[in-house]
Amino acid sequence: MNIFDTGRVCVKLAGRDAGKRCVIVECLDSQFVLVDGETRRRKVNVKHLEPLEEVLDIKPGISHEQLHAVFEKRGWNVWDTKPKNAAARPQQKRKVAVKDTSKSKEKKATKLKGKEVEASAKNEESPALAALEKPKKIKAKKEE
């Protein structure tokens, strides 16, 4: 019987996961195994593992979520990737001045009229003339 069989608890010896507990999820080869747990889920050379006495009762090829539950029961840490979506940024809101409803309505009306004049001018004459006419009318409204 191979020591490095599915369910064997090991400690990783090499790399940035060194000293962390993991479980063999799948035997790929006489030399390589798939490992998951406190380390990242990855293919690992057997040379980089130190087997422990414990053997977990696990199906070969168990998913990370299922293994997560098994590890949590025992109070062991589990490697979890950080969520990819970043936190929502605080959005800047436009400063809105205190509205006088009556004034705003007037302004809208003037704008609309101005547009109409422009459109008509475009149809009939050159746009330069319309541009000349437009500010005059607005001024007149303001005086009223």
Partner: protein, 90 residues
């Protein structure tokens, strides 16, 4: 003859070719020794030999290997340490 302060060998000499073709000597500070492993004393890989200001400007991940005891123990000594730790815990 160089001036008095440059006659000692505290500063290292760097020969630089000037645009005119003549060789000039630049005097620069010496680099520190290679940092050794805390157990076996071999020179550590992945730890740059730079002076303090240059090291301070570097990101942390480029100053030492990203494993436990990185920049303190060599990889083989770290492995044996981890093995001992795992066997002791049983």
């Amino acid at each position: 003859m160089p001036t008095g302060q440059f006659r000692s060998r505290t500063l290292r000499r760097v020969f630089v070719k000037a645009p005119g073709g003549n060789v000039k000597i630049q005097y620069k500070e010496r680099k520190p020794k290679r940092s050794p492993c805390g157990v076996c004393g071999t020179q550590l890989a992945g730890v740059p030999r730079e002076r303090v200001p240059k090291m301070m400007a570097m990101p942390k991940s480029s100053k030492r290997p990203e494993r436990p005891y990185g920049g303190v123990l060599c990889s083989s000594c770290m492995r044996t340490a981890m093995q001992r730790k795992a066997r002791g815990a049983q």
